[in-house]
Amino acid sequence: MEEVVGKLWDKWLTKQVSTDFPESQFNLADIQSQLQVFYRSLGGDKTKILEACEPRSVNVERSIMQKVAGSHQRFYLSWQDENSLRLPPNIAIFPDASLNEFLYFWLVALAAYMPTMQHWLLDNQQATKQILARYPGLKKQYQQLVNGYLLSRGNPDDMAPLTGQNERALQQALQGDVIVSTITATTFQPSPVALWLYPAPANSRQAANAIAPPTTKRSPAKNKEIKELPQRKKAQYVDEKKATDGLMIFQAEALSTWTEQISLDRSQSDDEDDAVDEIAKDMEVINLSRQRKASAAGIKFNLDLPAEENDDLYLGEGIQLPEWHYKKNQLVANVCQLQTLIADEVTPVELSSEQGNLAREVQNFLSMLAISSSAKKAQINGAELDVDAWIDHYTRPVKDSSEQRFYIDNQHKYRDISCLLLADLSLSTESYINNEQQVIDTIREALIIFSEAMHTLADPFAIYGFSSIRSNQIRYHILKNFNMRYDKHVRGRIARIEPGFYTRMGAAIRQSSQILTKQQTKDKLLLIISDGKPNDLDQYEGRYGIEDTRQAVLEAKKMGIEPFCITIDKKGNDYLPYLFGQFGFTIVKDPALLAKALPKIYAQLTLNKER
């Protein structure tokens, strides 16, 4: 009941103080793609992504009603940094929907003309002038925009003297009559100008640089202190070290653990067909200092993980990895602990007949695409004679010795590409896709078929799986590294994958990139199979997880790796373009077809890489 009353009150109050016209509201999502094109066509940075911004608090002078309603504290300010252009998610300033729409285009145009910002006030005005000078046709619409906008901003004469003075200056600047270079500092900031761009939030580097220098220069000439508009956003710091909230005792990962120290130099798995040395090439340090069977006597109590004798073999001490903190806008070093694991007690697995059929089907498809091998006629050298070419040549009246291409080349084409496949083995893969199959089953199947295909193509490839429990336990399973031969043991290892824990995707991508950069091939492809958003038990969910993953992807791209995501999450379109770019992902609609789709996707990705 209280809730209903509260809602009614809130609705009524918000309506009283709001200056917006909700009936003519225009949403960013509706024209996002148009804006993107418009932005590029005006010469905007191609790598920048257009996104909705978050509201920022601005300390403006508020009426009593506004204070009661608690409104006008946070505003959607448009801004851009080197990665993205952020616009309000919706605009409803004008009663006329077309003006609201035009405002989006106007902001995008401003952004294209003002890739970096030196001085918030001047830059906006100058960019406006430039745009209007270059495209005089826009003038009329801009005038409409400004006139409409000034109505909504209120009369400066009704305001407190200083605020009114600033407001008048801003309004003049908007009309373009004069260039206003400074405004007076007051306790309140002038209410934000929706027609202009603002510096990126204060926690991002470039914003700090942009604002800092002029403030020192501008010393007061008059008695009034004159300075830049202080446009800062309170940076919120998150307590990084606090890994859990400790509410319940089953989150008691802080409990100390004990184990009997058994130092033996080798694991029992040593006599497996896969030499552990091979695996060791993947690792900087390898330390197999325990014997699994013996350790069964000493129980290691870890409240998160299975006991070691039931777990995969730990390789090495774990790798420290950084993580991107989007609120701090920086890469925080060594917050993630990644543990490489390998299943050591593997029963070799042969292909089942269905898998064999599917593998053959895929191989046929690949050969149809002429990837595996095809005869090229009229080559300078080759294994067979090309009689046709010789006859052609012989019958020509004028014979050019440089045209003597009489051979058929049916060698494998040379492909200089290595591929690392990273499979999400989080808990969500335990869910079902239909009455019989779980997600993990399809992943298993897909990995095996993919391996078969890769084996045929003879491209070097590796397969890893990952899951995580908070930042200190990122489990990175080796299923096949680049040095292992693809055989029944690899199949056995793939057959053994199980749903693990959660999805800390960023760390897994970083480690995969590290491994992939060590490959000597020209092209490096990082394929990621996923079934949902990045997610972990701590703050790694929602925006945090997305931003970290995006950073990891960007880092990978910088290293010359091509990341590509294959997801079975039907809602993937919501976030994957931001993570991997418009063409960096694909959604497999029917998860049951993943096994078939995966090699085809690989083939299409690498088709143009032949030489």
């Binding site: 319940m248 109590f301 989080s426 869910s431 749903p499």
Partner: protein, 465 residues
């Protein structure tokens, strides 16, 4: 069934259901005694019948929880049970001790039983629900500890999921809070405090964790939804259960001696107790709606939804009816309490155990896709018979309770009827209750029959033998 050792759950389930049948029989007997106090006298007087009824309830639920845990934990932890042998031993110890105690109640007068078991050495007998002789209590503790140890070691050895962590927390709580039953202070108020520390912290605290975990497990299995999703729900539900349940214990402290602020604390926090139950309803229905697969064991899904709804009605709504101090002032210890107790125990705990049984038993009997259609149909009939009967019993008792309050509690002491005189006025309600009790018993019979319906031929070895 993924692991061989999950099979140890089977005898637990079977024995639990046998005890359940016993509980219903004694319930029926008492239903008659409410109408005519001489039924069964002098062989089974009312006080003994009541003791047997409630004790059987607790013991069969414990058997059910243990069986459910033995089934659930290996599957969740993805490893065999730490010691199947220990589980078998504790089963027999518990079964023998339980049966001996019940026989003791029935065959020997309670005072004599106390003397026989040397209650004077460590007096713990004589409190409602905790009537067991001290030696039986010690037995229960040993069995519970062995059980928690067994399950705990399995979890430590294997995969830790939110479900088995919540479950083991509930089970440890169950074992620990039972220890309060060994302290029996002279002071009656203190005595009540420690008594509630067992009873309340069980049924409105840790048992809710067990129920949440069992429900989540069955839902994951039959709906195939994303586990990461279910876990978040589970966390919120049990957090709410603990927050409201622990301080909500104050609703037992009204008018028994503690300071007045408990009237506020108890009222406010226990008023929140329906919240986790309501969330369980939302949770169950949301999961079933978002299901990714159609499990052939449809009746298990019905039980899962049913237990959420009935627990909300019984524990949530009926609990809330008389939990506020001003209301409780009049209703304390009336038939309203009985109404709440019946629907809450059945809806929350009896049904969740039957839900797990309904899911696990067919699998343990080699039918991974559930019982045949006919068996499921009979089980569905029994589900509705039992649920409707229990709701009707609750309504009859609620009406009886309201009338009782009107006759016995509200009038000034001069005009108020005496307790026994009031009971005479309520006979018509008790008749209704008895009729629905019979209906419930029929439902239970149908439930048992459903186990023996099989279109599959019996295994060949059985025939040879």
């Amino acid at each position: 069934m993924k692991f061989e050792s999950q099979l140890v759950a089977k005898p637990y389930f079977i024995f639990a259901l046998i005890l359940f049948a016993g509980q219903i029989l004694f319930g029926l007997l008492m239903g008659m005694q409410y109408i005519n106090g001489d039924v069964g006298f002098p062989y089974i007087p009312f006080n003994v019948a009541r003791m047997v009824h409630t004790n059987l309830l607790i013991v069969w639920l414990l058997f059910g929880f243990m069986g459910a845990s033995y089934y659930l934990v290996p599957e969740e932890a993805e490893t065999e049970l730490y010691s199947p042998l220990l589980a078998k031993i504790t089963f027999w110890v518990f079964a023998v001790a339980g049966v001996a105690t019940i026989l003791g109640y029935l065959l020997v007068p309670y005072a004599e039983l106390a003397k026989l078991t040397h209650n004077e050495l460590l007096p713990t007998m004589g409190r409602e629900f905790l009537e067991q002789p001290t030696i039986t209590k010690i037995g229960i503790v040993i069995v519970c500890l062995a059980f928690v140890f067994n399950v705990g070691m399995t979890i430590l050895k294997g995969r830790k999921t939110v479900i088995n962590m919540v479950l083991i927390t509930g089970l440890i709580g169950l074992a620990v809070f039972f220890l309060f039953s060994f302290y029996n202070p002279e002071n009656l108020v203190l005595d009540k405090f420690f008594w509630w520390f067992v009873i309340h912290l069980w049924v409105e605290g840790v048992w809710e964790l067990i129920m949440g975990a069992l429900l989540a497990f069955v839902l994951i299995k039959v709906t195939g939804v994303d586990r990461e999703h279910i876990e978040k729900w589970l966390y919120v539900i049990i957090a709410m259960a603990l927050i409201s349940g622990l301080i909500g214990m104050g609703h037992h402290f009204f008018f028994i001696g503690p300071p007045e602020y408990w009237l506020w604390m108890g009222s406010i926090f226990s008023a929140l107790e329906p919240v986790p139950f309501f969330m369980m309803v939302l949770f169950a229905f949301k999961m079933v709606n978002e299901r990714r697969r159609e499990h052939a064991n449809k009746i298990a899904v019905t039980w899962a939804k049913g237990t959420a709804v009935m627990a909300f009605l019984g524990a949530g709504v009926w609990g809330f009816l008389h939990t506020l101090a001003p209301v409780n002032y009049y209703t304390h210890g009336s038939q309203l309490t009985a109404a709440h107790g019946h629907l809450a125990f059945f809806g929350a705990y009896a049904m969740v155990v039957m839900c797990v049984i309904s899911y696990a038993m067919p699998i343990m009997r080699g039918r991974p896709q559930g019982n045949c259609e006919k068996a499921q149909k009979v089980e569905a009939i029994s589900f509705w018979l039992m649920c409707i009967a229990m709701c009707s019993i609750t309504l009859a008792l609620t009406a009886a309770g309201a009338w009782q309050v009107a006759l016995q509690r509200i009038p000034d002491s001069g005009d108020a009827l005496s307790f026994m005189a009031t009971q005479d006025e309520l006979v018509s309600f008790y008749w209704a209750r008895l009729v629905f009790g019979v209906m419930f018993a029929l439902g239970l019979v149908a439930y048992f029959i459903s186990f023996f319906i099989s279109k599959y031929p019996e295994p060949i070895e059985a025939k040879v033998a």
